[in-house]
């Protein structure tokens, strides 16, 4: 309740700007699950123990208790998976699409949504090559894209890069811990 009130007051005072789409979700799916022509939504309704395990691992758990992976298939063979991750900050939400290859390595990351205010900062971080550093990471490696691009970009784009690192870390942890369940 306290965080809700703080959020409401912050939103009123800081005037969070509207959300803009940087990459359509369908386009992100096409980029991150290439070759897939069948898709499935794998929904994991986490138990309290698993939510705690995820929280202990990366300091985050899904607020509704549900993690959804979109699995891409071609001729009934899994070609990869994708998760949409939301990262909140005082300037509003970011949404990332994180794609994984069939072996679980990160295939790519796209920033699908930001706010009007955050958009130029995010674009500056992306132009500096932020998402290149995520490609090929195994799902237990800590993403360190922000550290690589920070010397070339401003303070706020650097902050956006840190948030994107955090989102990738959350998504990768969810994949590592739960994707192969069931």
């Amino acid at each position: 309740m306290k965080s809700l009130l703080i959020g409401a007051v912050a939103a009123a005072l800081l005037h969070i700007t509207p959300t803009v789409i940087l990459v359509k979700r369908q386009d992100a799916v096409a980029h991150l699950l290439p070759g897939a022509d069948q898709f499935a939504a794998r929904e994991l309704h986490l138990s309290s123990a698993d939510s705690k395990q995820l929280h202990d691992a990366v300091g985050w758990e899904p607020p509704d208790g549900v993690v959804t992976f979109y699995v891409g298939k071609h001729q009934d063979r899994v070609t990869g998976a994708l998760i949409f991750m939301r990262v909140d900050c005082q300037h509003g939400p970011l949404e990332l699409a994180i794609g994984f290859g069939p072996q679980g390595t990160i295939r790519g990351v796209e920033v699908t949504k930001a706010t009007v205010e955050m958009k130029p900062w995010v674009l500056e971080a992306l132009r500096a090559g932020l998402t290149d550093s995520y490609r090929g990471l195994t799902n237990d490696q800590a993403p360190a894209g922000a550290a690589k691009v920070k010397p070339q970009i401003g303070a706020m784009p650097g902050y956006m890069a840190e948030l994107i690192d955090k989102g990738v870390m959350h998504g990768a942890a969810a994949y590592r811990l739960f994707f192969n369940r069931g």
Binding site: A8, Q26, A30, Q38, F39, D64, V71
Partner: protein, 180 residues
């Protein structure tokens, strides 16, 4: 009648006309927004505010993690189901109820200047204030009691539109056409 809009100063009638036009425009966009995020059918409203599906899971985590898999199309992956959880509904109620009260009060002040009987005036004022109560009562009952209460929210929305239409039509007619 506490004052008479029919014979009021031109500036008062101009103010009321512009106020009604502005409120009417905001109501049109409000209806558009409802169409985008909640829908006009009881099913859609129940999906938006109800406690079914994921929201139910949120309230009661399973003892062991449950995994379900279902085929989806590319289009479905691009869609986001707008769902108002209990925290967002608390925030919505807190933010919107005072504004609805102010709008109902302003429209009621216009009603006080209309040439209608005391009973009709009371009924219109009751309708103006009942609408937001029905709207939010419906949302909370849909969330906490049963999806069927979505109809109360729909009734609230239509009551709001009806109340505004009655006031706008009577005021415009009486201010600019019927002078006696």
């Amino acid at each position: 009648m506490l004052y008479d809009l029919r014979h009021s100063d031109l500036r008062v009638r101009w103010l009321v006309t512009l106020l009604l036009a502005t409120l009417g425009t905001s109501y049109l966009f409000g209806a558009w927004m409802v169409g985008l995020y909640a829908g006009f059918s009881t099913t859609k409203v129940a999906e938006t505010y109800g406690a079914a599906g994921e929201a139910m899971m949120m309230q009661m985590p399973p003892e062991t993690t449950m995994v379900t898999e279902r085929p989806v199309s590319m289009a479905e992956m691009g869609e986001e189901q707008h769902h108002v959880d209990i925290n967002l509904l608390v925030q919505d109620t807190h933010v919107h109820m005072p504004m609805y009260a102010v709008i109902a009060a302003v429209l009621s002040v216009i009603v006080l200047g209309l040439a209608v009987s005391r009973g009709v005036g009371l009924a219109i004022i009751a309708l103006l204030f009942a609408a937001p109560w029905l709207d939010f009562a419906g949302m909370w009952l849909t969330k906490l009691v049963a999806p069927g209460f979505a109809i109360v929210t729909l009734a609230g929305g239509w009551a709001m539109a009806l109340g505004y239409t009655i006031v706008a039509a009577l005021a415009t007619y009486q201010m600019w056409w019927r002078k006696t």
